[in-house]
Structure formats: C-alpha cells, structure tokens
Amino acid sequence: MEEKTIAGVKVALNEEGYFTNPEQWNEEIAKEIATEEGIELNDKHFEVLNFLREKFNEGEVLSIRKVGNSGIVNIKELYQLFPGGPLKKSSRIAGIPKPSSCV
C-alpha cells in the first residue's frame, strides 16, 4: 500500500494503483489518473465512472457485461472509451477496487 498525492489530495492506493478507500475519490483525481493512462475524460467517461461507483457502493460484482447492459454504452464503446483493458482501467480511474470478475 502506498500514499500518493493526486490533484492535491493524498489518497491511499494498493500495489497495483487501485484505491483502497473509494471515499477519497473526486472528479479531478479521476482526470489526473486518466491522463496517466492516456485518456482525456469526457461526459461519457464520467457516466461510466459514476455507474461503476454506484454499483460498487451497492455491493455488486462488476463485469464488462453489466456495463454493456447499463444503457450508457455498449461493450464496443466501452473498449473505445478505455482502450486496452476497459474494466480495469475504468475501475482504477473510478477509484474503486480492481474488478474481480473473470468475464
């Protein structure tokens, strides 16, 4: 576990860079992590991030399929928004733990 200052806020991350305390997240932090990943966040990105955070808070196990059925984006669009590992990247940017689903 490490502490890192992102967008002026000290946040706790695990070894793989995922938030250990999702409460510390805000939109500015998300933008900065996304920039590290080479992604510039737009409204659609934020809709996905908020969906993920909401479902995480409800205790759901997240999967690409669930995001695809959310009505926000289809799976292909999700891959375009977060290229090269959509669920993991979006989860990291959304400040929630690493997804544990295999599908």
Binding site: E16, R65, I75, Y79, G85, L87, V103
Partner: protein, 168 residues
C-alpha cells in the same frame, strides 16, 4: 494474494476450440474474452465439433455430456449415476441447469459471449477441413465469423513476440 506481474507481458493469444460441449466451448470463450479484457489480442479458431459454437442452427443448443463424464454430480454433490445419463431428457435438463448456473454468474450465452470478444477486437475463424467434413459453408456460420481458413493460415496469424497458443 498479490499477483506478481511479468515484466514482459503477454501480447496475443490464439485459442483453438475443437470440442462442442457447453463447458469446452465456454473454456475457449472465457480465455479469449479474458484476454481482450486485459488488452491482449485474441484470435479464435473453431474446428471439429467446436464448430457447433459458431454454426447458426447449433450455437444456441450446445449440451453438456451426461454420459462418459466422470466429473458429473447430482445437485447437492452426490455422484451422478452413469445410467441416468442415457434417459431421454436428462442431457437437456442437465444442460439447462448448466446454462442457468452460468447466467447467475453473469456469464452470457454463446452468441453474446462471442459478440463481447469481437467488441474487444477479438477475431473468430472456422477451420476449413472441419467445415468441409461437416459440409458447412460460410453462410451456415455465425455472421461475424471472419472466414473459413486452413491451419496454415491460422498459424500465420499466430506469430509475433509474446504470443501463446491455447488448446481448450
């Protein structure tokens, strides 16, 4: 557990599916989809009975073998008597239970799973020899199948650094 990351990561998987039971096909689909989810390129080659998974009139009707399957269990975990497997309807019932169990785990039906792989940039191919053997043409196969190709064509796609071939 902390997963130790390989410094020199996997870039491409080529998955071969040669069997047509639910669990064999899903092994392929899970491995291929798992790859694209991680940003790893995936190419999938369906051959022999595996072709059922991408044949229009069969892909929705895959079954689990209730005969000759020593790992079969009754609900609750008791051994599944082999003789039960021969009764009419048992294979269909068991297959339906498998499908329901997977749906509960958010594992999609075959066609939707294939669509997920394609959405992630994965590519689906059919084996020429097996297609000829089963008298299948491109029109009999799922529309998103890129082509019917030879083993040599498939191997030609499987080159490159950090590529693995997976046979399920």
């Amino acid at each position: 557990m902390t997963i130790k990351k390989e410094e020199n990561p996997l870039k491409k998987v080529c998955v071969i599916c040669a069997k047509g039971s639910i669990e064999d096909v899903y092994a392929t689909l899970v491995m291929a989809n798992g790859a694209v989810m991680e940003g790893i390129e995936a190419k999938v080659f369906f051959t022999f009975f595996g072709l059922d998974a991408i044949t229009k009139n069969r892909m929705k009707k895959l079954k689990t073998a209730t005969l000759g399957n020593p790992a079969m269990r009754m609900p609750g975990g008791l051994p599944f008597p082999s003789l039960l497997g021969v009764l009419p309807g048992v294979e269909a019932g068991v297959s339906l239970m498998m499908k329901k169990g997977m749906e509960k785990l958010d594992i999609p039906p075959v066609e939707e799973f294939l669509e997920m792989i394609i959405a992630g940039g994965g590519e689906i191919y059919a084996c020429k020899m097996a297609a000829e053997m089963f008298k299948l043409e491109k029109k009999d196969l799922w529309d998103e199948v890129i082509d019917i190709i030879t083993v040599g064509d498939f191997y030609a796609m499987c080159g490159g650094e950090n590529t693995q071939i997976i046979f399920t």
